[in-house]
């Protein structure tokens, strides 16, 4: 049996504060995260919703923890994750996405992403598996070069098979 979690890690030549902004603010997310944006700025303890460029719901849930990085303390951004971009995936229960943003040297940040609580969500498990790899690399490229990874086509972004 496979453990129902995906764990990823990436090093980014940016400060933890810059990475934090890229994860939590729509002006940044829409540039590397399949043009998805938060409808309202996320707040700890509050529900959130992200939407695609056409306004269709992408993901919703609760922002469980929102602790920005500080000197000597990693940032933590934890949200429940209920898929809305695909009808079949939307029937699965919410899973959980945890970001940890930690300074590991001058201008170098380690980003760890755990997508867990996927026990009851096998379709979501499969759907997000490779998508996160692309998201993380795209975020790194954007923060380090000012340009995100090149997208393949508009169709792919809007198709329900698109992965997060």
């Amino acid at each position: 049996m496979s453990l129902p979690a995906h764990v990823y890690q990436i090093y980014i030549a940016a400060t933890p504060q810059q990475v934090w902004v890229a994860i939590t603010e729509s002006e940044w997310t829409r540039r590397y995260f399949h043009i998805v944006a938060f409808v309202e700025p996320p707040q700890q303890g509050k529900p959130y919703l992200t939407v695609g460029v056409d306004g269709r719901p992408a993901v919703d849930g609760i922002t469980e923890e929102m602790l920005p990085p500080e000197e000597g303390r990693p940032g933590r951004f934890v949200q429940t994750w209920h898929t809305r971009y695909d009808a079949e995936l939307a029937r699965e229960p919410a899973s959980r996405v945890e970001w940890t943003v930690e300074n590991v040297g001058k201008g170098l940040t380690r980003v760890r992403l755990i997508h867990g609580n996927l026990e009851q969500s096998p379709l979501t498990w499969e759907n997000v598996k490779d998508g996160w790899v692309w998201i993380l690399n795209s975020m790194k490229t954007l923060l380090e070069t000012g340009q995100p990874l090149q997208r393949v086509s508009e169709d792919e972004i809007l198709s329900p098979a698109d992965r997060y």
């Binding site: 453990l3 995906h6 990823y8 090093y11 380690r110 380090e144 393949v152």
Partner: protein, 117 residues
């Protein structure tokens, strides 16, 4: 800028590739589970290989209560691919690979038909 050890050195060793294969088929294994799959190697030997993989950011360890689990991190592998294959080319390449497999399969079917006829 990528921290840590050399991904190519980490991947050059067949045991380390086998460890990644094992995690790919079942992610989140503990050290003793991984060690059981390499009966010719000591637990310490497996640990050393895992340390090289962790240094190259190919394996991430995470604690769950009292257990320590190992996860395959595919992120650096895609970075290597992105270095030489653009997104457009990647799509084209995978289409070519798919076409090649399809042609191969069709050819086999035809050969079998010809043989049975």
């Amino acid at each position: 800028m990528e921290k840590g050890g050399d991904i190519f050195r980490a991947l050059a060793d067949p045991t380390r590739r086998a460890l990644l294969d094992s995690l790919f088929s079942r992610d989140g294994q503990m050290l003793n589970e991984l060690s059981e799959k390499f009966p010719d190697m000591t637990r310490f030997g497996v640990m050393k290989h895992l340390a090289v993989l962790a240094e190259a950011n190919l394996v991430i360890t995470a604690r769950h209560g009292r257990t320590k689990r190992h996860y395959l991190n595919p992120v650096p592998i895609e970075q290597v691919a992105n270095r030489w294959i653009s997104k457009y080319a990647a799509r084209f390449t995978s289409a070519l690979v798919a076409l090649d497999e399809q042609v191969g399969a069709d050819h086999e079917t035809e050969t079998r038909r010809a043989e049975s006829a």
